[in-house]
Amino acid sequence: MTDNRHKIEQVPPRSDWRDPAVEFRKGTYCHSAGAKYVEALGLPNPRDWNPADADWKLPSDWKEIILNGMAERLERFRSFKLFMDVCVRCGACADKCHYYLGSNDPKNMPMVRAELIRSVYRRYFTPAGRVFGSLAGGRELTEEVIKEWFYYFYQCSECRRCSVFCPFGIDTAEITMIGRELLNLLGCNINWITKPAADCFRVGNHLGIQPHAFKDSLEFAADELEEVTGIRVDIPIGKKGAEVLFVMPSADFFATPHYYTLLGYMSLFHEIGLDFTYSAYASEGGNFGLFTSHEMMKRLNAKIYDEARRLGVKWILGGECGHMWRVLHQYMETMNGPADFLEAPVSPVTGTRFENARSTSMVHICEFTADLLYHDKITLDPKRNDKWSVTYHDSCNPARGMGLLEEPRYVLKRACNNFHEMPENTIREQTFCCGSGSGLGTDENLEMRLRGGFPRANAVRHVREKHGVNLLSCICAIDKATMPTLLEYWVPGVEVAGVHELLGNALVMTGEKERTTNLRGEPLQAAVPETSPAEVVHG
Amino acid sequence: MGDRPLIYGGLCLFVALVTFPVWKGVAAQSSTKGPEVKAVVDKKQCVAPRAYMREAHMELLVAWRDGKVRRQERHYTARDGTVYNVSLTGTCLTQCHGSKEKFCDSCHEYAGVSAPNCWGCHTSPPAEPAKMAAAAAGEMR
């Protein structure tokens, strides 16, 4: 695999961005959404179509739909309206986008991505553009422009990195979100987003795991945990009157390595005797509605509060997930609140009142665990993680849509002996996306994912060479799903784990048997102790 | 939206600041006449044409200073052939323009031109011509 790695080069852009022509090259775009999923969600224009086809089977009044859709959104979102007006094209954002850095496609520079829609805005919604047209930066809305939007708005992972550097805080995520909403009005959705959204709507989670399978999965996990620890944990599902409702991304009870994080949560909850419940109805914390439209986000998110109300819990605890937390932190209570049927969250173990979540009543598992550790309520044996040299990847949404930076680090530093940060410009609020966020983590899009993930992988390679890092920890389900592929390609030898997997490994549980394996069922120590390449590189 | 009063308040503040000269001018009943400047002695001709002197007297004065201090050039021949003694106090102020306060300052203050460093060395001549001459003589020494 190493021989055919993409060469990443910086080539100056030549073409003219005003030319909307796009080549739908295999590996750089996502499949269109199947008609049945579009239909299941009641979204417009369900049909079978292919982005590579000439005819996209758009509705005959597509232009009117887009322009009306834009007008409506300009009235509803100040962010959209303002961000259409104030960009000065200073260029600060250009080399901040991981897709641009990895693909060198100039239309992946954030201000150009925005300009794709901004030019149409100018032409149809501003006096200067109406009168002077292209001289004032306006562009005619044609079917080609729609295709271009589709290509580039599904080549943005809404990671907000550009927004950190923009002097006006222009957030391309906002523009991409609106761009996708507009495309969805024409039925131009991608399958990797629409199918999970449809499954989440009907069944309760992205994977379409039905209640009995949900329970089977959790029980299987409890079996596995028992093998490792000798302790049988409870699986409360839909338990009325529990103190806490626990919500996690569904990948945690389906995919690996997410699954080991689930084992981590389970051991923790058992050890502190948390009175909690899972829910088969609200069995998804993630929200692919965020990648569809504000309305869809609200529709999918509603389940969490509804279930909390039905079960009569006091507050909600949320697992490790990236965009899930963007929704829970910045949108949930506005969309589906007020959460007046809940209480301000109080840790039953430490008595800490989570003031920062007093209104929404939803706490991040890392906040919860950090508080436990700070008050020494749980015992850790970090030696059990000694086979790992760990780094931490800040997931975009918790970093830039929330500011959850120190809590996971606090947990990691207590749970592991070997922890190394990646370079400063690639972590915390400047963290690089995995390249597969916002519903783009699908296989047909692999080339773009690997390109977009290059800057992140690049930083991992740095710590791998310098400190012998062999494990990347993170708190995002999309990271856990897509980073293994990314790292195998760019930095072979680095595995991926959730923060609570490492916590679960280190957690000393009351009455446990002597552990011989970690939660993955692997021996606690590496067979051959790894020598750090640092000795070679840095003498 | 809750933030509208704040935005409109800010906008009003901005408009008020930008239009500061308007309401300030109206309140102070500023006139458009400009300063009234008269030469004390009724001469028709300055050392250079009036329009030039208005816009560029500082250049001439700097040239005078440099010439006199550095190259001992004590005399200035005007376009029409008249020869003038190079002296701000002795020639300009004493012979024609009276005093700094009455002549120079009226425009300088009006236009907010911070007076250059002329007056760090020179003094404005007193009112009586005799003393002016004495002062001028003193200055020449």
Binding site: A92, Q210, I237, K240, G403 | A111
Partner: protein, 323 residues
């Protein structure tokens, strides 16, 4: 005979023309500027901020023992004001700028503060220059304006003394223009309006500098014109010269162009929802004025659909619905 009629006519036509150039156009431009800017800001204000979406650039306020970043990720209104102040006065976000360079098949991120410096230098010197111009519009000249002029000409170079802000603004504008032409990425994204705005500013600054240090202008005449404009008793003085006229027309063009161009970022920067909101989304409920009910898959519907599976897995059903 014809000459007898034509000369006064031409003279009066010239007078009218001068009036239009020196009075009519500036008035119109300033009216467009103010009206247009208000129209834009009101337009933005009319669109609500439905969600609280600050871009968080530092540690959140969570547990009391974790040090938060009160200015990069404020959790209070006061903090948000502080963040905005840093943003507007010191260009905080631009200060973060770095440059990604490929080196041996990997990216290195070098410091890149030139854009920040250039932008800051340009904006601050522009503000100083604008305020200094108050000496022409207000009589008597306010003390702070005189003081500003003194400080600005601190080094006393030449007569009239050189204003530092003039030097800085020209250098900064030249830098901003050259990087647009030089940097290929920037050249790719630059549009007519980017150059137009820069050239207008550069032209205005150059003519201003030219009048002060080169061709000269009768300041008293200019001030009479300015005061006349400001107090709505316009006079058309003689002898303001062609350079001044160009300067004035460029300023007027800039003012009139302002509200319809990217230059409105001056007002917009204050309204950016990713910057001016406190990150207290979970502490305080934020209300969306157009929130509307949506179609959800309710628990009752869901339970009905999966009843068999729930029974099979012995997951408790909702008793209330059972009876």
């Amino acid at each position: 005979m014809a000459a007898l009629v034509a000369v006064p006519l031409l003279a009066s036509a010239a007078g009218v023309g001068k009036g239009i150039l020196l009075v009519g156009i500036p008035y119109a431009a300033f009216a467009i500027f103010l009206g247009g800017l208000c129209w834009r800001v009101v337009g933005w204000a009319r669109s609500p901020v439905p969600f609280r979406i600050p871009t968080t650039c530092g540690q959140q306020t969570s547990l009391p023992w974790i040090k938060s970043a009160p200015l990069d990720n404020p959790s209070t209104g006061l903090g948000a004001v502080g963040r905005m102040a840093l943003e507007v006065l010191l260009f905080r976000s631009l200060f973060r700028n770095n440059r990604a360079e490929i080196y041996d098949q990997r990216y290195v991120f070098g410091d890149s503060k030139w854009l920040w410096l250039g932008a800051l230098a340009f904006h601050w010197s522009l503000l100083v220059i604008l305020l200094r111009h108050l000496r022409l519009f207000v009589q008597p000249v306010p003390a702070f304006v005189l003081f500003m002029g003194k400080v600005d000409s601190f080094f006393q170079i030449g007569a009239p003394a050189l204003y530092l802000s003039n030097v800085v603004v020209l250098c900064a504008l030249a830098y901003l223009l050259l990087r647009r032409l030089w940097d290929l990425r920037l050249r790719y994204i630059s549009q007519f309006s980017d150059y137009f705005a820069l050239l207008l500013l550069l032209g205005t600054a150059l003519t201003g500098v030219l009048m002060r240090y080169g061709t000269r202008v009768d300041v008293v005449a200019v001030k009479r014109l300015a005061i006349g404009l400001a107090t709505f008793q316009p006079v058309v003085p003689d002898g303001v010269g062609i350079v001044f006229l160009i300067h004035l027309l460029m300023v007027s063009a800039l003012a009139a162009y302002f509200p319809f161009s990217k230059l409105v970022h001056m007002g917009g920067v204050f309204l950016s929802p990713t910057r001016n909101l406190a990150n207290n989304s979970r502490m305080k409920r934020h209300v969306n004025p157009w929130n509307y009910p949506v179609k959800t898959h309710t628990y009752a519907e869901w339970e009905e659909e999966f009843r068999d599976k729930l029974l099979m897995a012995e997951i408790p059903l909702d008793e209330a619905k059972h009876d």
